[in-house]
């Protein structure tokens, strides 16, 4: 997805949304209510048109392709099961539309897979919340779509049921190797679900996992109770330290927590490094760069209006202390 601009009555304008989701991966759109997550899903599915930008699905541009012709399954927040059709008919519906063969066999297979074979003759109004969820998932998976979109699909379930259905869902998704984009406002759920977390706030993309720098720490020295010195091959950083232990650590920081300049800071500043730009890519708002710091490559960006002032051979990088995060590698966190 590149430079997408969407106008929505509920959240206003979503601007310059760009991210890539690898085939077969699960992406999570994380953000508070009203951030524009559902609007973004609606634009990808074709429910609302994109004003600018491009949407690609498996290499093909689908920005102007009508909703009926995009090979996308969408599980809405309220699941949108057809109330007048039985569970079996709900799942068979998309297969009938696509005029597929062996519909009975395919439906039975998916019914067994998500463990709802016994419910096949029931109408949605006579199903529990968890059962409805399973039917919606089965209906979305039965056509094996290019992309699966889910809008807070577990929101209506209680905590225990949510945990159970989420685990079941992930199992099925993995089995089908489906490219999936899930909306949630729950950071814990996002961590559990996604290979790639895309944060969105006030209609703008905050960052994707692609924007995160992650550098393996060679050794860690505690400076105080809350501060540590993380040493890398050729430089070190002062980072916040919280309780917890791990054998190995890495330091994470976002592109937006980097300040890049051609001149040395006039006063000694914490976490200032020197490097050189080895590659760059321009877009409408900024120039994305890769910087070599004594053999370690980090990603950052520079506003395009500053780009011409930058001496690519020698740049100074200040990494915000508060933007750094120390993470245990073995145990997944501190």
């Amino acid at each position: 997805m590149e430079g997408l601009k969407i106008k929505s009555v509920s959240v206003g304008i979503l601007k310059n949304i760009s991210f890539t989701l690898e085939k077969g991966k699960v992406g999570v759109l994380l953000g508070p209510n009203g951030a524009g997550k559902t609007t973004l899903l609606n634009a990808i599915s074709g429910i609302i048109p994109a004003k600018n930008g491009h949407i690609y699905l498996d290499g093909k541009e689908i920005t102007t392709v009508p909703i009926e012709e995009r090979d996308i399954s969408y599980i809405f927040q309220n699941l949108a099961l057809f109330p007048h059709l039985t569970v079996y008919e709900n799942i068979a519906f998309p297969l009938h539309i696509k005029k597929e063969e062996n519909i009975g066999k395919k439906v039975s297979r998916i019914l067994k897979k998500v463990d709802i074979l016994a419910l096949k003759d029931r109408y949605p109004l006579r199903l529990s919340g968890g059962e409805k969820q399973k039917v919606a998932i089965a209906r979305a998976l039965v056509t094996n779509p290019e992309l699966l979109l889910l809008d807070e699909p577990f929101a209506s379930l209680d905590f225990e049921m949510r945990k159970f259905i989420r685990a079941e869902f992930l199992k099925v998704i993995k089995e089908f190797s489906l490219t999936t984009l899930i909306v949630t406002h729950d950071p814990y759920e996002a961590e559990e679900l996604g290979n790639n977390i895309i944060k969105i706030r006030h209609g703008k993309l905050v960052h994707t996992d692609n924007d995160v720098n992650r550098i393996k720490v060679r050794s860690l020295k505690k400076v105080t109770k809350d501060i540590a010195l993380a040493e890398f091959d050729n430089f070190s950083l002062i980072v916040p330290f919280s309780s917890g232990r791990s054998d190995h650590y890495c330091v994470e920081f976002l592109e937006e927590d980097l300040y890049i300049s051609s001149s040395k800071p006039p006063v000694p500043t914490l976490n200032t490094l020197r490097g050189k730009i080895i590659s760059h890519k321009e877009n409408a708002e900024r120039v994305h760069v890769k910087i070599d710091i004594n053999g370690t490559i980090i990603k950052g960006h520079i506003p395009w209006y500053m780009w011409h002032e930058i001496n690519k051979e020698e740049v100074y990088i200040i990494i915000k202390y508060r933007g750094t995060k120390l993470k245990g590698v073995n145990d997944g966190g501190l």
Binding site: S45, E68, F76, H84
Partner: protein
Amino acid sequence: MDRKLNSLLPIALFLLIWELVGRLPSVPTYLFPPFSSVVVKLFTVKGLLLENIFFTLFRVTIGFVIGTASGITLGLLAGINEKVNQFMTPIASIIYPIPSIGWIPVLMIWFGISNSVPVIAIFICSFFPIFLNTVRGVKDIDQSIIYAAKTMGTSKTCLIRKIILPLALPNIFTGLKLESGMSIRTGVVAEMLAIPSGLGYLLMKGESLIDTQLIFVVLIVMGLISLVVDYTIRKVEVKLLTWKA
């Protein structure tokens, strides 16, 4: 069984009171005939009655079927297309409250004494409420259901046939149940005023001959027809809307 008995008991009691009042010496039979004499009359005029029931049912069926079919079709169209809705709904909202029998005098002027008068009156009676109920039914459908069907690749006609129409049916049936009885009443009134055949004509004939037995026979038949039509519609509704039960 008990429930059936419970509902039949008041009817039997009502007929008994009717019979007793009709047999009171102070009540003239030509003004208020006992129930038994009405039953006897029913068998006496059997042939005439059947012939006129046919005429009335024929007119009601034609008017009601055309009114219902066009009400549903245009209602679906207006429910889907906002421009059609903006054009049609204000007109329907103005015409709907006008009692359909109010149109009969002008229809008589336009069409004279012909079958068109009751048929058109019944059409007006059934079209507008069914149209408005269908529009409401379509508008009430959760948009995400429509979008879900669209993302599956559903074409417009398939969407209307398989999703929109079935989901608008509860509202359509509300309109049908309201207007089926009203259509029969409108047809009979139109026959009373404009046509020398049908149940309405028999009522007028009973009035002119001061034949209250005939009038009561026609009234009972009208009641029974309305009951059967209402029962049939409810049965069809239950059959088609099993998912709601």
